[in-house]
């Protein structure tokens, strides 16, 4: 008789937001390999289910999928409740993988594009992370991991609207970490450099691009090792240190 509750208590479920991207798939696979159960969320139910089935088959763990739209802020409260029920309160963490790079030149002319970039990467993330922060704070346990970007470390002409959104996300995560320290809830900021995803695919001049699998492993390591912030791959930390050290009067004239 005692077998059932014990099994339920040992369940650990992680929610992946924006789960159909190659990076998210790699994070999910890495978690599944370490025997975490998964809840996958995203906009495209067919793709989500395809990814969920694949993970279930390859790793023999429980994987479910749920519809989620970062822009539909009003739905986020119900979504959290849905996740809580679907996981039978076994949720131990969230990895936020959704993002929208957008079209920088378009965003310069059309505020709707700029807004979409800011709404998805910043507002959508703030909304859902705040709700889950409350949930985990109540449990005094759990982690919130979000994929920010090195683009948020310094504004550049080629992607500064996206960069501004990610900079906002990075600062939001810092504050959240500060607020939750001592509550048992960890907040992990991931700053990917170049990962081999559709966001970077085909862009000229990229160097040392990491495979999604490698990035996924590093992200999960960062979460489980209790890191606050992690560059992916790791050499981006010194690279971004240098990028941030360039004086603005020189930086403003650089073309990149």
């Amino acid at each position: 008789m005692t077998g059932e509750p014990a099994a339920a208590a040992s369940r650990r479920t992680v929610l992946i937001l924006g789960a159909t991207s190659s990076l998210a798939r790699a994070v999910a696979a890495e978690l599944a390999r370490r025997r975490y159960e998964l809840l996958l969320a995203g906009r495209d139910p067919e793709e989500l289910e395809a990814v969920a089935t694949d993970l279930r088959m390859r790793h023999a763990v429980r994987v479910e999928s749920r519809p989620f739209d970062a822009l539909a802020l009003d739905s986020h409260g119900a979504f959290v409740e849905d996740c809580r029920k679907a996981s039978e309160d076994s949720l131990v963490g969230v990895v936020l993988c959704f993002g929208y790079q957008g079209d920088q030149p378009l965003a310069e002319k059309d505020i709707r594009e700029a807004r979409r970039i800011l709404d998805t990467n910043l507002l959508g993330a703030v909304s859902i992370l705040s709700l889950f922060a409350g949930y985990f704070e109540g449990k005094r346990n759990g982690f919130l991991c979000a994929i920010s970007s090195v683009a948020g470390d310094r504004g550049r002409r080629s992607n500064y609207v996206y960069g501004a959104a990610k900079a906002g996300l990075t600062v939001f995560l810092q504050g959240l970490r500060n607020r939750l320290s001592g509550s048992g809830v960890r907040v992990v900021t991931i700053k990917p450099g170049f990962v081999d995803t559709p966001m970077t695919y085909g862009r000229p001049g990229l160097f040392l691009v990491a495979s999604p699998e490698k990035a996924g492993r590093r992200i999960v390591d960062a979460v489980l090792d209790g890191k606050d912030e992690s560059y992916v791959p790791g050499f981006w930390r010194p690279v971004m240190f240098l990028v941030r050290s360039i004086p603005e009067r020189i930086f403003k004239r650089m073309r990149w």
Binding site: T20, S22, D44, E47, T53, D54, P198, Y201, G202
Partner: protein, 453 residues
Amino acid sequence: MEPSVVRSLSGWGRYPVETCRVFRPEKRASLEEILASDAESSYIARGLGRSYGDAALNHQGGVILFERLNRFVAFDPRTGVLECEAGVTLAEILEFVVPRGHYLPVTPGTKFVTLGGAIANDIHGKNHHRVGTLSNFVLDFRLRTPRGEMITCSPRQNPEAFWATVGGLGLTGLLVSARIRLQPIATAYVLVDFLKVSHFEEAIAAMAESDHLYEFSVAWTDCLARARALGRSILMRANPATPGDLPTRSVDPLSPGRRPKRSIPFDFPSGLLNATTVGAFNSLFYGLHRTTSRRLVDLERFFYPLDSIRDWNRMYGRRGFVQYQLVFPLETSRAGLTEVLERVSASGRGSFLGVLKRFGDANAGVLSFPFPGYTLALDLPVGDGLIPFLRDLDAVVLRHGGRIYPAKDAVTTPESLAAMYPRIEEFRAIKARLDPKNRLSSSLARRVGILRS
């Protein structure tokens, strides 16, 4: 819009090298988006790029990589039916099914191919004489046609599209997913009988006489040996091992230990593999083997000896190599093989890998390669005069009623191909129905005139 990149691509033989616009979709819906866009006038699907020549190239056109459309869909351990997306590799399938007591029903000499590529080239393996090609185990597949439909094809449902797509070189539609029936296994080992013969005629006599006793049969053939040693061979024929055949207390009959992976870290100088070096290797290889029976070998080593050396194609240097695989009908095999082997050995074009095998029955695939007879596969380094040499071989093949395998070809002409594949008109008619605007095309399809340009 789906991102893409223009880059140089080649097949496994690294000849030819062409410029293509390469797409790498991650979602099924992207396939439709790419096909519907006018970014390129035509597209061809590409798996792991293990076809040797230009079957998965589209010069100045679009190439769609399937590496990220690689999801498992379903597996029924009771029936052994596995469904997965076209980009799943045979290596991934094996990793999944071997511990569950199943194996691929048909496998080529490498597991680094995708399921989609395997179907599009209707691959055969060492058990063709018993079970035929992979398509005999394909229950059905989903095909995204350039007309925007998703159709399910099986020998009963849309049979025309089914038999044009297996071996259809990716020209009838984009393979999205397929269901295949796997082979149950009791162990991941085979018992191999090695038979050393000093002339290829002895090899084909032995195959004719006793291949039916073996589930798997193949011969390594020395294509440089001449005269009385013409095509001296080592037959490797095997049957599945039972748990009782394994040494006692062996850990797990379904998981042989992993072997270290080696790789060729740089291009060997072109010309390093020549008649002298390959001749020496062949003599050594031939000399080292003995006629022995019931040697226990794990399936990995038996089926994929070269997979343990990553990038082995670099041995042929920058200029690359061409694989030439032919089949002769039973009646003409002896005469045809004699002529081919004499020409190859006299040319001194070193073929590291000469593989000889007896095929079983053909299937209904419109462009499927195998038919009853003997097949020979050669690797020939690209060098001066190779193309005229291969055109001459084409003439020999045709004179003896044979044909070559398009998956490996990089050289043949429309005239030769049409003579070798008499059902090509039928293929064109089916393609015209599925793809009226020729949105799917490849360098090979244009070069050999499957699509008239």
